[in-house]
């Protein structure tokens, strides 16, 4: 149970970074933390102590397998996270070249 709770704590740390930090790069790091937390949570959902990879070689293999689906999902989620993180960092760099700062308090042409 403690490992699951620590995932949620990691998620909250990431959320904290996004909400309170003023530096754009730190906000991006907050997102990376959240993605880690969720991926870890997914991987732990399918985990079973002492279980094997689900490769059936003989029909009479004992059924003590790790659930493979969360691993496949984590792979997909990592690819998506890669896409969003790359896009976010690109936009941060472009913002830097326009405003010459990473501080969100100084980047406010728009009112929200």
């Amino acid at each position: 149970m403690i490992v699951f709770a620590s995932c949620i704590i990691l998620f909250l740390i990431g959320l904290y970074a996004i909400v309170t930090k003023r530096n754009l790069i730190k906000i991006a790091i907050g997102f990376v933390l959240i993605e880690y937390a969720i991926n870890l949570f997914f991987a732990l959902v399918g985990f079973k102590r002492g279980a094997l990879a689900p490769i059936i070689t003989q029909l009479d293999t004992p059924h003590n397998f790790v659930d493979p689906i969360p691993q496949a999902l984590v792979l997909t989620a990592i690819v998506i996270a890669l896409g969003t993180t790359a896009l976010m960092l690109t936009i941060i760099l472009r913002i830097y070249s326009r405003y010459k700062t990473f501080d969100i308090a100084e980047i406010k042409k728009l009112k929200g």
Binding site: F31, F41, L87, I91, I95, Y99, K108, L110
Partner: protein, 500 residues
């Protein structure tokens, strides 16, 4: 060969063809995206025709039976959403031909445009929760990039805000999926809905529902979570604003909410009034707050953006009422608002293209110089306000009827009073841009732009006049698909595996 995977396969293939074809001959990129969206429109009409007879068509990816493999579950509500997406994508693509000629790297625009289409189509036809997340992210990532397409300081800032809010929503959805998988060991929507009934009324059930509603409220830009939208819409190129305002928020936020609440969690107003009251509350808050803020805007597109938040509130209100009339009204409102707000954003694009500004103080006297744009704006605005022969009127009427039938007389009165707000803010644009006398350099809108606008005007008028068949054949079945609730899972499992 089934037609269902075509809805996302065609735009996905064309998204990867466009960079190659655009390199060979530039206008080919535009041609491919327009032709593909037209084909999607025809396919969507075929889908509507097919769903008249079959309540549910299931396409099994790789021929794995439902709980094991990914399925595409295509019912009347999906068919309806696919139809409205294809209409707005077609007009947006048509409009882009001249509008995007000011920008460099057009093939990038059309690639992202088609990717976004593929993502939205996928959300509407998938029957798998994780698959829904993947499509949501495909569409969302391309929309983030499209908002920043101008790469000016404002566009980048708007896009960053949009990414931050959108990703908080998307990642919360992913965490909710992880929780659901941990508890039910399945990702198939139909299978989840049967498993969830066992653990109904537990903390877990309400927690996952709350996380999903939070995620979708961000995506739909309902009021406490709306801060990204008024920046993102004005920053995006006009065809993209039209796409974002017309359908994106509905597909990302409204469609997903409706599908999850009605079909997967199996809630109805009779058994869980609390959830529906929350939806009504969110709806009312959006209508009132965004409507009042819109009155105070001096930017053409920013005003329309606030107006769009306010209108999405009406849709949520309809779903929150939760009886047949409310849901039919909400679904018709998706159609009415998609067409009207798509059209209004296209007129804003046409004005910006002609004059180079969207400041309401500077614009004047365009009513005589750009008659097509002005009249398109008027028809679209009248439909949003809810004038009788237009489709927007019937949508509002049905929602208000639903409120009265459900016994919320006060709600009906509030909805009528608040819809006057839309008259007030749209008249501001009409007054200052089209009616006021003044001199500003403007040329007439190019031919393709006018075609796109006129197409939407004709649809708004026609659907308004012939609204009875629309209710009977398109919107009514879609509402039944939602209101049959948990029967959804029986249909997915026991459904035809015909050649459709």
């Amino acid at each position: 060969m089934s037609f269902i995977p075509m809805f996302f396969a065609l735009p996905l293939i064309s998204a990867f063809l466009i960079p190659i074809l655009g390199k060979i001959y530039k206008p080919l990129a535009w041609l491919v995206s327009t032709v593909v969206s037209l084909v999607l429109f025809i396919l969507a009409l075929y889908g509507i025709a097919v769903t008249q007879q079959l309540p549910m068509i299931v396409y099994k990816m790789g021929n794995w039976p439902p709980p094991l493999g990914i399925v595409m579950a295509f019912d009347s509500f999906s068919a309806f959403m696919v139809l409205i997406i294809s209409i707005i994508v077609f007009t947006g693509s048509l409009f882009s031909f001249r509008y995007m000629s000011n920008y460099t790297g057009q093939w990038k625009f059309y690639t992202l445009f088609m990717l976004m289409t593929a993502g939205m189509m996928g959300i509407c036809i998938t029957g798998d929760l994780f698959n829904m997340f993947v499509f949501l992210e495909i569409a969302a990532i391309s929309s983030y990039a499209l908002v920043a397409f101008g790469v000016g300081a404002e566009e980048l800032e708007a896009s960053f805000k949009y990414i931050v809010m959108g990703e908080i929503g998307g990642l919360t959805f992913l965490l909710a999926i992880a929780f659901i998988y941990a508890k039910t060991s399945t990702l198939n929507l139909a299978d989840i809905s049967t498993s969830l009934q066992v653990i109904r009324h537990t903390t877990f059930f309400w927690m996952t529902l709350g996380m999903m509603l939070f995620a979708f409220s961000i995506k739909a830009a309902l009021v406490p979570f709306h801060s990204w939208l008024p920046d993102a819409y004005p920053a995006a190129p006009a065809p993209i604003s039209s796409l974002l305002a017309g359908i994106c928020t509905k597909v990302f936020g409204i469609y997903t909410t409706a599908r999850i609440v009605f079909n997967v969690f199996g809630l109805t107003r009779a058994n869980e009034p609390m959830v529906f009251n929350i939806l009504i509350g969110l709806g009312l808050l959006s209508i009132a707050f965004a409507g009042l803020t819109a009155l105070n805007q001096n930017d053409y597109k920013r005003l329309l953006a606030y107006s769009s938040i306010s209108q999405v509130g009406f849709i949520m209100l309809g779903f929150g009422i939760g009886n047949y009339y409310g849901v039919v009204g909400a679904i018709l409102y998706i159609l009415a608002h998609g067409l009207a707000k798509g059209l209004l954003f296209l007129t804003s694009g046409s004005v910006v293209h002609a004059t180079g500004t969207r400041d309401l103080q500077k614009l004047a006297g365009l009513g005589e110089r750009m008659p097509t744009t002005a009249w398109s704006f008027r028809i679209g605005a009248l439909s949003v306000i809810g004038l009788p022969p237009l489709v927007g009127f019937f949508a509002k009427l049905l929602i208000i009827m639903g409120a009265i039938k459900a016994g919320f007389i006060w709600l009906a009165i509030i909805a009528i009073v608040l819809s006057v707000l839309s008259l007030a803010y749209l008249l501001r644009i009409e007054n200052s841009v089209f009616m006021k006398k003044g001199k500003i350099d403007a040329k007439k809108a190019p031919f393709t732009m006018r075609i796109a606008m006129v197409f939407l005007v004709v649809l708004i008028v026609l659907l308004g006049i012939g609204f009875q068949p629309i209710i009977d054949f398109i919107v009514g079945p879609a509402a039944h698909a939602l209101l049959r609730g948990l029967e959804y899972s029986h249909l997915v499992f026991g459904s035809f595996t015909t050649n459709f």
